[in-house]
Symmetry: C2
Subunit: 492 residues, 2 copies
């Protein structure tokens, strides 16, 4: 294992120089070099030695989190969560910074009709699509500093590393910030990669109204805003059509925190993501009858909130019995008065499972059970509750592309070879993603895969979401190599 | 039963004249009479013959509902509910109308520091407190046309009837509109009669903030308003101290829809309210942990909303087992995103029962059970949910005053004697109130009782809340007689 041994000597070099490292001593880096190195001319060993700059990545990441910093959970300067809802003023600020940064790195920047920002570092060959690194800069209302943000910042770090090294690629390398991946403000997640993939109609996305439950946050106007008007308001309604036809990609890679406990609890460093679990999002309405809490016996009530409570308890039972998840994130009860039994309840239901069919089974069983729960509440007065389902989003299980998975697998093994353990192979595992990501939609049109790194306690969508600078740098180095390997796969 | 027979002939007379009726042919009514009749000079038969004007009461009631008319449920001109939140612009309009009306009826009007409006028709004797008829003009956000409104409008109708007849009382007769009885906008119900009774401190009431869940209604500003600022904004922050010492009463009578099904299902006409059940209002917070819905297994969650759902189901079980009620009217889950497990849930809990001790027992058992539910959710990760209780309001069971109950009982029997059934006594029953009313607080300081009339299906706090014009007029006639009887009890 000469390669591993060679690589394991690298961290010292990197610490000494505090610069991006290219391991082949025959090719020393100079910022003034005119004749660039070319990916297709590298040896396998040279590719495996590629690393990004840990300190710079961490510094850039936290720099970008000044816009929309959220709930404080510790005393350190970066011990806050994030609340950077899509198309908020804070989102505009970080977008402006992203574009400025990428232009300074000699990238060509375009913005499409969904506000997706594409920054491309040209390759040697014109007229071939770039290989993209992408994720999102928006966050949950009480989110953290890594979900999505790391993916974009890792892309910036890859471009900086390539520029510093003078590493030329055959095809270009792009970094993309996808709009409103979270679906927290405009209630379809990954909506803008969805439009790009032509899986979601542009008009439907543009007409999405912001969710009223975030109306108390600084981003929201008193009247719910549409996604189009929000794009216009911050100057990010671009003129490039939002489509994979107008902005083609050779491939799409995404590095992301795992958001689950598997890597961290097994002391593993990298997850090679091979698939994404299926999920469906519903909006349900339970219609009962407003009555007085003090004068209406239980048997005379059609209490929509009581029906909801039973439904939520039942949803977990059914999902658990089938190896799936079912979750309620939003609930609204009307009219919302202490002494009035709520006659109307609206809630979100998120069902997930490893296979599309399992999710469908959970849905089917819950439809039957919820009808029964609704029918029982208010039956005593002949005015039972009823329940209505609306499917907001359907994401079947996704299998990523073998070529991309291979690139990530090789790169992950090469990067973890730095680690001081006997069996570095065991630090890498294949894994399924529990969450949806923009890569789900890019995978519909171009070869795609993802890289997971550990996060503390598997915690995500929470201010205390945390990954170490080492783990972030590992993810960035893996995606750097994966992009280089993919470029070589295309043109060697 | 000469009296009953005599009275049963009255409806025809009333229909013919369409005027307020005084049954003693020896005393004919003339609006130009200078020398007034006096309550203490009437015979028992004459008192029993007093009736209000059904058509005028109905007309006035619906006229007053033009301000704040709500959800339409039928095609008729009055087939809408009400949404007249306390101290809204609509509430201001109806208050202005009320004052104008009472002044035109030669009443003296005062407004206190809580915006309570007292309109007094002077009696023959100066320097004795008036007997009051009171209720409230505010409504639930999706309320109806009768709850509270009937009580005030019945008061107006009593004054109109007395004026028309030239009936003089020994003590004065007042009509009071109590502010924010519903507690729907400012979250303490009967807050302003509570301040008047010196059971709630003025400053506490003035600092109450409007409930955020009604922020979408036309009454609410973008930032929650305090009760004091809302009073100022509509010009109803009066300068009379809000206290039974500054605005004394001889007694307080209130006519109200039952808001339950007992009268209507037994075909009874009048409920003589002898008591009000105990209740306590709590605000509970469940604190869990925000996590990602897609990547967090059930055993890794501290889902505050799931804990809430179990609590609500349990609350009904426990309350039902003890002959009590437990209800949740308000629930808020944060952060409120489809794909984030809510880490924080806030909800209202309203526990009621016939006796104060029963309510305390339900509370005690639920405190234990809720702790157990919270401890189980998140136990798998050593970060269980926890639950915090805040008591917002505590209303022990109330027994009304025997003198007032007697007056209502006699008056009710006299009025239902009009009915064409054999046993008119069976049309009246004693009853306990399930809901709180301003009479709960007045009963702390002055003799008080209430009169219930039937409402359709027992439905209340709902746009379709409905009572017939006949039933409304029955209630108004009972309260007219009760006030006269009480005046006689005081001065005969």
């Amino acid at each position: 294992m000469a390669c591993s041994h060679f690589l394991r000597t690298l961290p010292r070099t990197r610490l000494q120089s505090a610069k991006p490292v290219f391991s082949n001593p025959a090719r020393t880096f100079s910022s003034s070099r005119i004749q660039a190195m070319l990916t297709t001319e590298l040896s396998e060993t040279e590719v495996s030695a590629l690393r990004t700059n840990k300190e710079r990545l961490a510094s850039d990441l936290h720099h970008s989190c000044q816009w929309g910093s959220g709930i404080r959970w510790g005393n350190g300067p970066t011990d806050t969560g994030m609340q950077r809802l899509a198309l908020s003023q804070d989102d505009k600020s970080v977008r402006d910074w992203f574009i400025q940064t990428m232009k300074a790195l000699k990238c060509n920047v375009t913005v499409d009709e969904m506000g997706n920002i594409f920054a491309v570092r040209p390759g040697r060959r014109a007229n071939v699509p770039a290989t993209f690194i992408g994720s999102h800069l928006d966050t949950q209302p009480t989110g953290g500093r890594y979900d999505g943000i790391l993916g974009v910042l890792a892309g910036i770090e890859v471009i900086k590393t390539m520029n510093d090294m003078g590493l030329e690629t055959e095809g270009g390398v792009g970094v993309v910030d996808w709009t409103n991946e979270e679906g927290a403000r405009f209630p379809i997640s990954m909506v803008s990669s969805g439009v790009w993939a032509e899986c979601i109609p542009l008009a439907h996305a543009h007409n999405l109204k912001e969710v009223p439950t975030v109306a108390s946050l600084p981003t929201a106007a008193s009247a719910p805003e549409t996604m189009k008007s929000a794009l216009q308001k911050i100057g990010y309604l671009g003129d490039v059509p939002c489509s994979y036809k107008s902005t083609p990609m050779a491939a799409h890679f995404e590095v992301h925190i795992e958001q689950g406990p598997y890597l961290v609890s097994a002391n593993q460093r990298v997850g090679v993501v091979t698939a994404v679990q299926a999920y469906r999002w519903f909006r349900l309405n339970v219609i009962g009858r407003d009555t007085h809490t003090g004068t209406t016996a239980f048997e005379h009530r059609a209490d929509a909130l009581y029906a909801f409570a039973q439904m939520m308890v039942r949803a977990r039972e059914v999902a658990a019995s089938k190896g799936c998840l079912a979750s309620v994130g939003i609930v609204e009860a009307k009219p919302g008065s202490v002494n009035t039994v709520p006659g109307q309840v609206s809630f979100s239901l998120d069902i997930r499972g490893p296979e599309t069919e399992q999710v469908a089974e959970v849905e089917k069983e819950l439809r039957t059970d919820f009808d029964a729960i609704a029918a029982a509440e208010g039956a005593g007065i002949g005015k039972p509750c009823r329940v209505e389902w609306t499917l907001d989003f359907d994401s079947p299980a996704v299998k990523f592309h073998e070529d991309c998975i291979d690139c990530v697998q090789q790169s992950a093994q090469a990067v973890v070879a730095d680690a001081s353990v006997a069996d570095t192979k065991s630090l890498v595992r294949t894994i399924m993603s529990g969450a949806g990501h923009d890569s789900v939609f890019t995978s519909k049109r171009v070869p795609t895969s993802m890289i997971f790194i550990p996060c503390k306690d598997g915690l995500s969508h929470h201010p205390e979401e945390f990954s170490t600078a080492d783990d972030c740098a590992t993810g960035a180095s893996v995606i750097l190599q994966a992009v280089v390997r993919y470029d070589r796969k295309r043109f060697l």
